[in-house]
């Protein structure tokens, strides 16, 4: 292991400015602190939405509904979706690990626009506050589902306008972050850090940033149109005035499908960092992974109408979108094969981050393959709007992005806080999480195949058994989550001091002290070779 790197600078966790404590954090332009601000805010929202999901499962435990009314149930699944999508999964990894590690990985002191970065966080928080306010003000919590489909979203008396405005504001934050990352990668790479010497996390963030930039404005304008429609009745989505609700669906999914790749690409980036470190081998197929990120970003922008196969599109466009949907699975599969090939004949050092990375690969494969199934038209018509869809996207969003976020937290925890967590406690939390996850979401997929429609408040008796299985699974899952975050929060304060490079990683973040000094590097490093050169490192030590 490397020796403690000496540095004159204090750690980024120490206040050195005129402001102290909370004020120092709220006015910081340090990308590392902003990353943590995002993390704390997002985990809070995450647990609120987990709680809502937990309650929804309890409702399905009985065939007689005692807990809450049908109206409240509609509000619950809407709010669960809005919070999870817009406040947790979409900003998730780029806002936390992108902010914290992108500048370090390319050998920079900060992002290109540090003040804009802080502004993005405030815009994010403003959007989050609007989202929360929309639950308690106006006509009550929105009951449209997170997709806000017209014409119902135009007519419902609930507080859709504010919720939609919140999503608009959050989109703005996402775009500003995208602008910042693209500029940072173009301008601030350390000397010698050529494009193909960047760690692959940077490629993932780069392609994500382009989707954020090119897709988000479309949903922004669509949501503005919903608001205008509700206040002024402009009629673009209103069939009574010559408008077309299907146009809403198109515009919505032109963003919201690429948004799926905003969620998953950075997750793949995290996994790509973790696998070589614990296999002690250079990544297999560096360029293939880099280009597959870019091609997912490209092709992924052309598949949106697969959310609309049953809406009455022409059969030609349905077939084209079906084909494109199948094609987008290819670059994802390339990554999976590359990860597995990296592990092959590696000298594997089995640690908690690797466990969660492998969990990611397993769950993402199930999520991804069921996605390909839905790209096939006949199957799609059968399972459209059933629990199968709900199970599928939880495998991708939670099993994919969520697990990658957990893996990333475990991987970079010692670097971010300079402390180490109890590995045994993390392993212990993995079991209930993994078992509960599969009971819950695989159960949902079986329910969907049986014909259980999504978003229903009650269910028929023949679905009851699987609903019980899923609900019990949700208890295990929540238990696992509590153990996981309990362990990490404890370690944040009481954990042992971590080494600078506890995993034997070779990318730049492991060459600096834990926690990193304020300006990351004493001296901007000069890069002479690609990332993941384990052989040379062993030769040196």
């Amino acid at each position: 292991m490397s020796t403690q790197a000496s540095t004159a600078q204090p750690s980024y966790l120490v206040d050195t400015g005129t402001r102290k404590g909370l004020m120092a954090w709220l006015t910081t332009t340090d990308h590392k602190r902003i990353g943590l601000l995002y993390l704390y805010a997002m985990l809070t929202f995450f647990f609120v939405a987990v709680g809502i999901g937990f309650v929804m499962r309890l409702v399905q435990l009985t065939t007689f509904q005692h807990l809450i009314t049908a109206r409240t149930y509609n509000a619950l699944f809407t709010v669960h979706g809005v919070i999870m999508i817009f406040l947790f999964v979409v900003p998730g990894i780029p806002a936390v690990f992108g902010n914290f590690f992108l500048p370090i990985l390319i050998g920079a002191k900060d992002v290109s626009f540090p003040r804009l970065n802080l502004l993005s966080w405030y815009v994010f928080m403003a959007g989050a506050i609007f989202a929360v306010l929309s639950l308690f003000t106006g006509g009550g919590a929105p009951d449209t589902g997170w997709t806000f489909y017209a014409p119902f979203s135009l007519k419902t008396g609930t507080n859709v306008s504010l919720a939609v405005f919140a999503a608009f504001v959050l989109g703005f934050s996402s775009m500003l972050t995208g602008i910042n990352f693209i500029t940072t990668i173009h301008r601030l790479r350390a000397p010698g850090m050529k494009w193909f010497r960047m760690p692959l996390m940077c490629w993932a963030l780069y392609s994500t940033a382009w989707i954020q930039l090119l897709a988000t404005p479309i949903v922004a304008i669509t949501l503005v149109l919903v608001i205008l429609e509700r206040f002024f009745g402009i009629g673009i989505f209103d069939p009574a005035k010559g408008g077309d609700p299907l146009l809403y669906q198109h515009l919505f999914w032109i963003y919201s499908h690429p948004a799926v790749y905003i969620m998953i690409l950075p997750a793949m980036g995290v996994i790509t960092e973790i696998i070589p470190t614990f296999a002690k081998r250079p990544i297999f197929g560096y360029k293939a992974i880099a280009f597959s990120s870019m091609s997912i970003a490209g092709v992924g922008s052309l598949v949106w109408a697969h959310h609309m196969f049953t809406s009455g599109l022409s059969s030609l466009s349905v077939m084209l979108f079906s084909l494109l949907t199948m094609i987008v699975a290819v670059p994802s599969a390339i990554k999976v094969f590359n990860w597995v090939s990296t592990l092959y004949k590696g000298s594997i050092d089995f640690q908690p981050p690797l466990l969660f990375a492998l969990t990611f690969i397993f769950l993402f494969c199930i999520g991804g393959l069921t996605g390909v199934m839905q790209g096939a038209l006949a199957i799609n018509v059968h399972i459209h709007d059933t629990y199968f869809i709900v199970g599928h996207f939880h495998y991708v969003m939670f099993g994919g992005t969520g697990m990658a976020l957990f893996a990333g937290l475990l991987y970079w925890f010692p670097k971010m806080w300079g402390r180490m967590y109890s590995r045994k406690a993390i392993y212990a939390s993995w079991f209930p999480m993994f078992i509960g996850f599969n009971m819950l979401y695989f159960g949902m997929m079986i329910l969907g195949m049986m014909g259980m429609p999504r978003r229903y408040y009650v269910h028929l008796p023949q679905f009851h058994f699987m609903h019980v299985v899923a609900t019990v699974g949700s208890w295990f899952l929540v238990l696992g989550l509590l153990m996981f975050f309990g362990t990490l929060i404890y370690a944040m304060f009481k954990g042992e001091k971590a080494e600078d490079n506890p995993w034997g990683g070779v990318t730049l973040e492991w060459t600096i002290p834990s926690p990193p000094p304020q300006e990351n590097f004493e001296e901007i490093p000069t890069i002479t070779q690609g990332p993941y050169h384990f052989v040379q490192q062993e030769g040196k030590s």
Partner: protein
């Protein structure tokens, strides 16, 4: 925490261009809606277009194009360290931008006077395609108007910064970026003019 001070004009310009891309895509969503609706209701769009005042539309185009010219002249003046001249040109831009808004408000006022506004009783009697036409007209020119207001605010700050020497011969990237934004406002209008006013 002031250790991050470093200057990268190229980076700033790149960031601005990326922001302009997002603005273009934002309007792009509306252009998609427009093309689909026009494909669906060609006759109604033709008729709707004939209700708009082409003369005022063209005058506004000239006003806006001229204001873009004066922004460029202001940048050139700053590069030559001619502060007073730069301020004059920027001031002219602001006046022209305001003129645009005034003419626009007369146009909107006339439409309201004729009962042509979203959700109006008169509009409800027209065929659906024309209702959509006016829905799009007010949305797109309205959003463009908001961008004019935003652009004017930015250029107002630029004028203040030129006056207080925050923008000067060796440091004028902010003015350049403000100018870029103003040109975008201009370019979008150049598309709106034929799509609405010249649709007839």
């Amino acid at each position: 925490m002031s250790g991050h001070l470093h200057r990268d004009d190229f980076g700033s310009r790149l960031g601005m261009w990326l922001f302009l891309v997002t603005e273009m895509v934002l309007f792009g969503g509306l252009f998609i809606a427009y093309s689909y609706m026009r494909y669906r209701y060609p006759g109604e769009f033709h008729h709707g277009g004939s209700e708009l005042n082409v003369t005022l539309g063209v005058i506004n185009t000239v006003v806006l194009l001229t204001s873009s010219l004066t922004v460029v002249l202001a940048i050139v003046a700053v590069q030559r360290a001619e502060k007073r001249r730069a301020m004059t040109f920027l001031g002219t831009t602001l006046v022209l931008g305001l003129t645009f808004l005034v003419i626009k408000s007369f146009e909107w006022g006339a439409k309201f006077h004729h009962g042509l506004y979203p959700n109006s009783p008169h509009l409800a009697t027209l065929p659906p395609g024309e209702q959509v036409f006016f829905g799009l007209y007010f949305t797109m020119t309205g959003l463009h108007g908001l961008h004019v207001v935003a652009g004017l605010s930015v250029l107002g700050v630029m004028l203040w910064w030129v006056a207080t020497d925050r923008i000067r011969q060796d440091r004028y990237i902010h003015l350049e970026n403000g100018g870029l934004y103003w040109h975008l406002v201009d370019v979008i209008w150049i598309f709106l003019l034929p799509l609405f006013y010249l649709a007839a």
